[in-house]
């Protein structure tokens, strides 16, 4: 399955090299002419509904709720020059209950876990423990040609003691460029 997918990636890359065509100088008055490149795309998995991370009873000392966010795959079929890379980042909002104080994004951590790799690249997991700002989650460096990385992140939310009971809602954004 994986090798077939990679085969498709390679095919797309090869097609990219072959099908170079001149595009019309659409805006010649304003800028220089452009060339159309039909290479492959950089892509990221569309999120499934993550649903519920987990449930824990309210306690005096507090504790952590951990759960899977759902598998993430980044595929890079851009036939990039050797040595280029991509950066996958993550950020979270605060988690808000129907009523009562929120759990700040500083209490939310992201663990990438094992990264399944296809192609030639070095993938590094950063495992941030504070998702208040945009922070690198997985970085690909030293790429040679098409590659893909698949991982199954775990979200860890520290719930302080005495928080209100209820379902807390938040948004987690994963980006790659």
């Amino acid at each position: 399955m994986k090798s077939m997918r990679m085969g498709a990636l390679l095919l797309a890359g090869a097609a990219g090299v072959l099908t170079l065509g001149l595009a019309g100088p659409a805006s010649a008055a304003e800028t220089s002419a452009t060339v159309t490149v039909t290479g492959g795309a950089l892509s990221i998995t569309v999120p499934a509904s993550a649903g519920n991370l987990g449930t824990r009873e309210n306690s005096v000392l507090g504790g952590t709720i951990s759960g899977p966010l759902g598998e993430v795959q980044v595929s890079d079929a851009r036939a990039a020059a050797a040595g280029s890379g991509w950066v996958a980042t993550v950020i979270s909002t605060a988690f808000t209950p129907p009523s009562g104080p929120t759990i700040g994004a500083a209490e939310v951590g992201y663990t990438a876990g094992a990264i399944t790799k296809v192609g030639t690249a070095t993938f590094t997991a950063n495992n941030p423990t504070n998702l208040t700002g945009v922070v690198a989650a997985v970085t690909a460096t030293g790429i040679t040609g098409d590659n893909s990385a698949t991982w199954d992140p775990t979200i860890n939310v520290f719930v302080a003691g005495g928080m209100a009971a209820g379902v807390y809602s938040g948004t987690i954004t994963q980006s790659v460029s």
């Binding site: 892509s43 509904s49 987990g54 050797a82 030293g142 954004t173 460029s177």
Partner: protein
């Protein structure tokens, strides 16, 4: 492959280290990784008390992708210009670039396309959260701004960057994002957003583009905490544009005339203007210590620089250090005994 280490005592690996020394070795390595490694999430220790609910772990649900379709003819040979929107523009000019958004999921996807700010920090190009603006994004528009892309289909959007006449000079960064989000969970929970983007590197100013340049300041050989030989190149961006570094290293004139490589430089590092960052090249543990003649060639787009140096990797330090420590302790002990005997013998006549 087993190659004798040059000129050093005890050429064996860990298998020849005595049991006591292995203990010391393990302790030393453990202490080192704790000190150097990434901070360990404290929260993971508390996982035991959690009762997961609805851990419906689905297969990857397909992807959304973006790719740049138009590359300026003048920059066609530049491999970076095929991946990113990279240009130098005079104030008052407008450019258009088409991008293709693809949907490989089994269903229609509502994809929102918009520009947002980005910055280069610590060698990584990182897009800002959500729709965070900067000057560049206020000049950038994407049409259409949203598209319902059918399963297996694609849509084409046009990115227009209109630089105002009074735009300040310098380089600015951004990302054109394609974004999807999971439907809001019923009864609350996590909403997930996935974004994939094309980077913008836009230089503004009169005349030609500011020259790109970089220098390789130093090349040093070392070892990673787990004993892997590593070459670190210190690279300084001395030009007027951000750089995306790539490159290789070749080793030659090694022990017995050996050659090795090329080894890929471990980069993907984006170097901000004026910044200096280390770039590492990891080598196989079986590579002999040297000395080697190292030739590192780094490039960003069409710009290429090389540096040469004679490098010797530190001897596989960890297995040998226990020997050194033990030898040192024994010498100290012997010296102490000799000194004590000497003092005692010396004092006896004085005392009596």
């Amino acid at each position: 492959m087993r190659v004798p280490l040059s000129g050093q005592a005890c050429g064996g690996g860990a298998d020849r280290v005595p049991r006591f020394a292995r203990g010391v070795l393990a302790a030393a390595v453990a202490a080192f990784t704790v000190a150097v490694g990434a901070p360990v999430s404290v929260s993971t220790a508390a996982q035991v008390a959690i009762a997961p609910v609805a851990t419906g772990r689905a297969e990857p649900a397909g992807s959304i992708g973006v790719q740049l379709l138009d590359v300026p003819l003048t920059a066609y040979d530049d491999p970076r210009a095929r991946l990113y929107i990279i240009d130098h523009l005079h104030p008052g000019t407008t450019i258009h670039r088409r991008i293709e958004i693809s949907n490989t999921t089994a269903s229609n996807q509502h994809i929102v396309i918009y520009p947002a700010a980005a910055a280069i920090s610590q060698g990584a190009f990182v897009g800002a959260a959500a729709h965070t603006p900067n000057e560049l994004t206020t000049w950038t528009s994407v049409l259409p701004g949203a598209s319902n892309v059918p399963s297996g289909g694609h849509a084409i959007a046009t990115v227009t960057i209109a630089v105002p006449r009074d735009a300040p000079g310098g380089e600015q960064y951004g990302v054109v994002w394609a974004e999807t989000r999971s439907p809001p969970p019923t009864g609350g929970g996590i909403t997930q957003v996935s974004r994939v983007g094309i980077r913008l590197y836009l230089s503004i100013g009169p005349g030609g583009a500011p020259a790109s340049n970089f220098t390789i300041n130093s090349l040093t050989g070392g070892r990673s905490p787990d004993g892997q030989p590593v070459v670190v190149a210190n690279v300084h961006n001395s030009g007027g544009r951000a750089l995306d570094m790539s490159g290789t290293m070749q080793l030659s004139a090694g022990p017995g005339g050996l050659s090795a490589g090329p080894f890929a430089a471990n980069l993907g590092t984006t170097l901000a203007i004026g910044a200096t960052e280390p770039i590492t090249i990891m080598l196989d543990k079986q590579i002999p210590d040297g000395p080697w003649h190292a030739l590192v060639t780094l490039r960003s787009g069409l710009l290429e620089r090389s540096a040469r140096a004679t490098i010797t990797f530190p001897t596989t330090g960890t297995p040998q250090s226990p020997y050194l420590i033990i030898a040192g302790l024994v010498i100290l002990l012997l010296a102490g005994i000799v000194a004590a005997l000497f003092v005692r013998r010396h004092r006896k006549p004085a005392g009596f």
